[in-house]
């Protein structure tokens, strides 16, 4: 450690000790503790003072987390608020004003604000920039009308990251603006969207005269596409983030193979091992990507991990059904339920097989991701875009 690093480490120690002394985790309400942790600059230490940090390198965060965990301190609910922590935080950090960062980061961190994502629409999937939800300026507010879809967790969310069209008279990418939207607005209507697995993990969200203050606009008017791209890069990284060896879908099949020798089929064995090797190769590719970017921003390479992950999840879960044979003719539960959090490798083999079909669609289809890799990593010519110079309102729909 350099002298600087030693002094940072000492400073962090002091802050952790002071926090624990003033707020004994055993006798403090968890949210209150998280608020105090945020105010002590120990939430995201790399952020500035007042925004959950105090401007020291992120590499020290592990030290803080470990010290607080050892003291039995409550953890922020990252799993319950994946969109908040994984996407809203980095986007707010990159594009928010100082006031917005002070206002939104703290309740997000403490769990007061769970976030959902209002991006996709029935008419705008892969072509997200073609979205039609309109936001019209009225005084200090924007009035939003439209329909969003594939919104996980909308029923539990207090806030949403929202992209809407603020100018239909310019080409599609130029007319978008990014907002933080309050989901308790009376104009927000949420309907569960039942899917292939029987459950309703997603929702349709209807926005009728929803009022969003201009103070909740992230980035400039018309800059929404750029802001959204930041969010989407983080989404792909979040989806592609690696587990330990045998941590994902391959672990399920491997466990069954070991536990139930009667299922073993020599003809299937090489395919199992092939997928095991590919899973390990993908895990190592993700690990290397993390080492490469260490403390940097996610790039288009994250798309590659997601692509591999989807292909593997589908192939492995398909093999798993064949491995189980007769037992795989059955399904665990078709009732319409609304899961709090999604575990892609949870439930039974039938569920895993069906849910994996979404992996190559959600967060950028595998086909779009191949375009991203081809164009942004490999430098191949972009797709022909017949719509890029035409005002959005004149596009055929």
């Amino acid at each position: 450690m350099t002298l600087d690093e030693q002094s940072i480490a000492r400073d962090l120690d002091t802050r952790v000790r002071q926090l624990l002394a003033a707020h004994d985790p055993a006798h403090t309400d968890p949210r209150e503790f998280l608020e105090a942790r945020f105010d002590a600059g120990l939430a995201w230490i790399q952020f500035p003072e007042g925004q959950g940090g105090f401007g020291v390198p992120q590499s020290f965060q592990e030290q803080v987390n470990a010290a607080l965990a050892a003291a039995g301190a409550p953890e922020p609910a990252v799993a319950k608020n994946g969109i908040g922590f994984g996407m809203a935080v980095p986007t707010i950090a990159a594009f928010g004003t100082e006031e917005q960062k002070r206002k939104f980061l703290r309740p997000l961190y403490t769990g007061e604000h769970i976030y959902c994502q209002l991006f996709s629409e029935p008419g705008a999937g892969s072509d997200l920039a073609g979205l039609a939800t309109r936001a019209v300026r009225e005084g200090d507010d924007w009035i939003v009308n439209g329909q969003k879809v594939w919104t996980s967790g909308a029923q539990n969310a207090q806030m949403a990251i929202l992209v809407a069209r603020t100018d239909p008279n310019v080409p599609k990418h130029a007319g978008l603006t990014y907002f933080l939207c309050d989901m308790s607005d009376p104009g927000v209507e949420i309907r569960p969207l039942r899917q292939i697995t029987g459950e309703a993990e997603f929702n349709e969200v209807f926005l009728t005269d929803v009022r969003v203050p201009d103070a909740n606009r992230l980035g400039a008017e018309g800059q929404g596409w750029r802001v959204a791209l930041t969010t989407l890069n983080f989404e792909r990284v979040a989806i592609g983030s690696g587990a330990p060896r045998e941590g994902g879908m391959i672990g399920k099949v491997a466990t069954a193979w070991r536990a139930q020798p009667e299922l073993r089929n020599p003809a299937m064995h090489d395919e199992l091992m092939r997928l095991w090797v590919e899973s390990e190769a993908t895990r190592l590719t993700g690990e290397r990507l993390r080492q490469q970017r260490a403390y940097g921003q996610p790039g288009p390479e994250g798309s590659a991990i997601k692509l591999a992950f989807a292909r593997l999840a589908q192939a492995i879960s398909g093999l798993e059904l064949q491995l189980h044979g007769e037992a795989a003719l059955r399904y665990d539960d078709w009732t319409l339920c609304r899961p709090e959090a999604v575990d892609m490798t949870g439930r039974g083999p039938g569920y895993r097989y069906l849910r994996a079909k979404g992996n190559s669609i959600e967060g950028g289809t595998s086909e779009i991701l191949r375009n991203v890799i081809a164009e942004r990593v490999l430098g191949l010519p972009p797709e022909h875009r017949v719509d890029k110079d035409i005002p959005w309102k004149d596009l055929p729909r």
Partner: protein, 368 residues
């Protein structure tokens, strides 16, 4: 497992630059292709520069034994560059297979001359031998070595043969001068002439036993190390194929557009890039774990070997297809890479063998 460094250090990058420059100057494709019509085409000078002047033959040998005291991380960088240039140098057969076998057997004299590049060696086993126990086909008797070993890589380029021998009390390791009496080395026409193979026949050939009863382990170690490093060569082959293909599809126009603007090709190349990147990660992991003598090495090696060979072949096949007719010509170097990739896929065990071995290592038995 958690401490693996999957990247390259500045020193390793500098080493790469040096080797790449050497091959760019003196191992051009138009020179390499002559090996197919004139198997005697001589690249000894390039090998001597690499081995002796740059001192890279001794990468895997400790300084105390006259080597460079480096390890598989550095040797892997050299292998990547050899793959990238399909360089016809006996680095794998001499500086890896023969060297590691002697090192592990505890031999010092020949080892030192291999490490300083003054002597070239070859481990006398079929190139297709997979890691694991090696059943020697050469026997030792009162009159010396007798037996035949086919498809030995680098045998005709070697001064010294390092020979696994079935002795009366178990495996032995011998050294023998290639030019000595009773040794016949017959070069074969190979699918890949850039890694020449030869059949070796011993008849009452006088040899020197160099092991201490640890010959089985020494050969197994050489095969494991060879498999670890071959994966990096395969990554180098695959990277050349991908980069060359990308260059071509950006420049070649049909239907008034660059080939690389067609989505059918873009998607295939995106997939290929992912495969090649993943191969790089597995090969780097294997080289790193081996260098640290990490307990995960056998698994890392099996994964890299099972993965990289197929990726290199796929990359070479995609390279030819994306080039269209030019890819089928003798003049264009793509075929050199296809031949190297396909031979490499068979070298030191096929992916099927490595997956079967991996299954044992990770407790996924084939049958009930």
């Amino acid at each position: 497992m958690s401490t693996a460094n999957l990247l390259y250090t500045d020193t390793e990058d500098a080493l790469r630059d040096t080797v790449r420059r050497l091959f760019a100057d003196r191992c051009k494709p138009e020179a390499i292709v002559t090996l197919y019509d004139h198997p005697d085409a001589d690249f000894t000078d390039v090998w001597k520069t690499l081995a002796a002047e740059l001192g890279l033959a001794g990468l895997l040998v400790p300084e105390s034994l006259g080597g460079a005291g480096a390890g598989t991380r550095e040797a892997a960088v050299v292998m990547e560059e050899i793959g990238r240039a399909v360089a016809p140098v006996p680095f794998l057969s001499s500086a890896v297979l023969a060297t590691v076998a002697l090192l592990k057997a505890g031999e010092a004299q020949t080892l030192q001359s291999l490490a300083d590049g003054s002597t070239t060696g070859a481990l006398t086993i079929p190139l297709s031998t997979a890691p694991g126990p090696y059943p020697a086909t050469v026997h030792v008797g009162a009159s010396g070595l007798t037996g035949r070993v086919t498809s030995v890589a680098g045998a005709n380029l070697a001064d010294v043969l390092v020979v696994p021998v079935a002795g009366p009390d178990g495996p032995e390791l011998h050294t023998i001068t290639r030019a000595g009496a009773g040794v016949t080395v017959t070069p074969a026409l190979a699918l890949d002439m850039t890694r020449p193979i030869a059949d070796v026949e011993f008849s009452a050939a006088a040899s020197t036993r160099v092991d201490n009863g640890n010959a089985g382990d020494a050969v197994a170690e050489a095969l494991l190390c060879g498999a670890v490093l071959l994966a990096s060569e395969q990554v180098g082959v695959a990277q050349w194929c991908l980069e060359t293909t990308l260059g071509y599809v950006k420049q070649r126009k049909q239907f008034g557009r660059a080939l690389g603007s067609f989505q059918a090709l873009k998607h295939r190349l995106a997939d290929l890039w992912l495969d090649v990147s993943s191969a790089g990660a597995t090969a780097r992991y294997a080289a790193d774990t081996y260098a640290r003598a990490d307990a995960d090495t056998p698994i890392a090696a099996a994964v890299a070997s099972a993965y990289c060979g197929d990726v290199a072949v796929h990359a070479a096949e995609e390279c030819i297809q994306h080039h269209g007719g030019i890819g089928m010509t003798w003049e264009y170097p793509a075929h050199l890479y296809l031949k190297r990739a396909k031979s490499d896929q068979l070298a030191l065990g096929t992916a099927y063998r490595h997956r079967a071995r991996l299954a044992e290592l990770v407790d996924l038995p084939r049958s009930p």
